[in-house]
Every structure is written in C-alpha cells, then in structure tokens.
C-alpha cells in the first residue's frame, strides 16, 4: 500500500484524464485500513475476503490449527503453479520468483483468519503476491520504476496508430509466431500493463476480480487492459514485420 504512488504507472503525462482522477481517488486514501472502505465499483460478496488485506491486523481466531492446515493444503497450495508463473513474469528471475511465492504463502498462512474458507483463494493469493511484489521486490528488480511515457505517448498521439495496426497485423502472422516472440512481446510491456494481460488472458480473472487484486476501480481495469492490448499488438506487429511474416 505504501508504495502505491511509486507503483502506479499514471502520472502527469497519462493520456486519459478521467481515468487518472479515478485512480487518485482510490489510491490516495491515507492510512493502513484503506482496504476496508472500498466503495463503488468493487462491491460484491467476495469483498470481505479480498478486501481484508493480509497487512491488516487479524484478531479473531477463526480456525483451529487443523483447519488452517486443511485450508492451506486444500485451497492455497493448488494454486502454486499459477502463482509461480505470475511471479516469474513479474520478476524475470527464478530465485526472485521463488522467494516471492514463498513469502506470499507464508503471509497467506499468517493471515489465514481473514480468509473465508471456500471463497476465491486464487484471487486472494494473487492479491497478496502482487502487494508483496510492489513492496519488497519492485525496489531491487531491474524493472524501471515508471512506465516509459514516451512509449505510451507516442502511441496514443499517433492518430493513425489504430488503422495502421489493424491493416498490418494479420491472423496468419500471429499464428506463425513462436512462443519466444509472444513472450518477448509480453515481457517488453511495463509491469502494470503486463500484469493486467497476465491476469485476464492467462489466468482468466474477471474484471471484478482484477479490480480487487489490483486495488483499482473496474473502469481503470478496463482502460488499462485496453492500453495494454494496444501496446502488445504494436509489439507483435513489429515482430511480424521484422520476421517478414
């Protein structure tokens, strides 16, 4: 939470003003308990589980030790594969990914009383992992701290970007691509754009789940996804061109 400002890709140069003000409203809340007063876009029955940040204090002992282990083994550990792959796509480093996943699981266990058995464990875990990444790993990773605004700006300021893209990129070119090219295109995106694509396209989270995992309104999920996809498409198009597909 503390690192939110640093993590947010948005800044003065961001192209969508409406979107920006929305972000401000949600991320500039003060204090550690800002997870408990979510409103608007993120209301639903899962709210409590996802909104209860693992950083918060848990005083109620909801589960016995045996129940805790059952939840941990039955609901948390089965997601380790997705968690590890998410961590690796965030850090680009096997050891960091391993540490990040380990830390996430230890936190999840420590705050297991704020998890309601049988609810969306995967989204809950992804949220913890994302927060751990921001707070602990972001600093030491090679990832630049901010979105490359030039990248974003030049794309959005180019009037015919959309037209150019749809005419140049062909379905056949995409089908001919190899995994490494797709992977490089995805990895070249700034972490916030990469993240929404991973969550949506690889992990199949809904917009609502993504909003909770990322602590942003659904409207921001949508606009960020839209931008991310356009940037990805741009990358794929230049791969296709350079490979002569």
């Amino acid at each position: 939470m503390i690192e939110n400002e640093d993590w947010e890709p948005t800044g003065q140069n961001y192209s969508d003003d409406e979107d920006r003000s929305e972000e401000n409203r949600y991320t500039n809340k003060s204090g550690e308990d800002d997870d408990n007063d979510d409103s608007g876009d993120t209301n639903d029955s899962d709210e409590d589980q996802l909104a209860d940040a693992p950083e918060g204090e848990v005083t109620v002992e909801r589960y016995s030790e045996r129940q805790k282990m059952r939840i941990f083994d039955g609901e948390f550990l089965p997601h380790i594969d997705a968690m590890y792959n998410f961590a690796f796509r965030l850090t680009f480093d096997e050891d960091d990914a391993k540490d990040l996943v380990q830390e996430t699981y230890l936190k999840a266990f420590r705050f297991i009383n704020s998890f309601e058995e049988g609810t969306n464990a995967k989204a809950w875990l992804f949220r913890i992992l994302k927060n751990s990444f921001i707070n602990d790993y972001r600093k030491k990773s090679k990832e630049p701290a901010k979105v490359d605004y030039n990248d974003v700006e030049s794309y959005y300021n180019s009037e015919d970007a959309q037209v150019e893209m749809t005419t140049d990129l062909r379905v056949e070119s995409l089908r001919d691509m190899i995994g490494d090219e797709v992977s490089n295109a995805l990895n070249s995106l700034a972490v916030d754009f990469r993240t929404v694509i991973i969550l949506c396209d690889l992990e199949g989270f809904t917009y609502e789940e993504m909003a909770k995992i990322l602590d942003i309104p659904i409207g921001t999920v949508r606009s960020r996804l839209h931008r991310a996809r356009n940037l990805l498409k741009d990358k794929l198009r230049s791969y296709a061109q350079s490979m002569g597909y």
Binding site: E65, K68, M69, F72, L77, I80, D81, Y84, N85, F88, E94, A97, K98, V101, Q102, Y105, L106, F109, R110, Q162, V163, T166, T167, L169, R170, V171, L174, R175, M177, I178, G179, V182, S183, L186, I197, C200, D201, L202, T206, Y207, R222, L225, H226, R229, L232, K233, L236
Partner: protein
C-alpha cells in the same frame, strides 16, 4: 464485400472496439454480444479486428511456455509454515 470499409474504419469504430474487448473477455452483456456479433457480419473492419484480437488471446494462451515450479518449493513452504503453526 467491403461495403462499409471506408478508410479502414466503421462509423461506430470506437464503440465497436470497446464492445469487442468486453465480448472477448466474457464481460459483455447479452445485448452487447448480440449487437457485436450481428455488426461484424456486415462490417469488414470490425470483423477483421475481431479475428485479430481473438487470435492474440489464443496465442497468449497457447504459445507461452509455463515454467515448472521448482521441485523443492512446496516442501520449503510447508516446513516454514509448520515452524510457525
């Protein structure tokens, strides 16, 4: 066949692009889905967009290699958890 294809863009291009995302992400309402599926039957640019966008999602799902979880990771996590339990 490309009767609405003027300047590579249909008259409702922005709205179409927006709905397309919702359709492919499984977040569109029935009305939006119906509108879009009907629209692409007669709008070539949007039809092309639809194919490109869904193929991008396909290749993301099918071509990205999954990293195998390190074999000792679960063991390490479990033993650390047992220490604290």
């Amino acid at each position: 066949m490309e009767k609405t294809d003027n300047q590579g863009c249909c008259s409702e291009h922005d709205r179409c692009l927006e709905i397309l995302q919702l359709v492919l992400d499984g977040e569109a309402s029935d009305t939006e889905k119906e509108y879009y599926m009907h629209h692409i039957e007669e709008c070539m640019p949007c039809y092309r967009n639809y194919n490109i966008e869904s193929e991008i999602r396909n290749i993301l799902r099918s071509k990205l290699e999954k990293k195998p979880v390190p074999t000792d990771l679960v063991t390490v996590i479990r033993s650390k958890v047992n220490e604290t339990a």
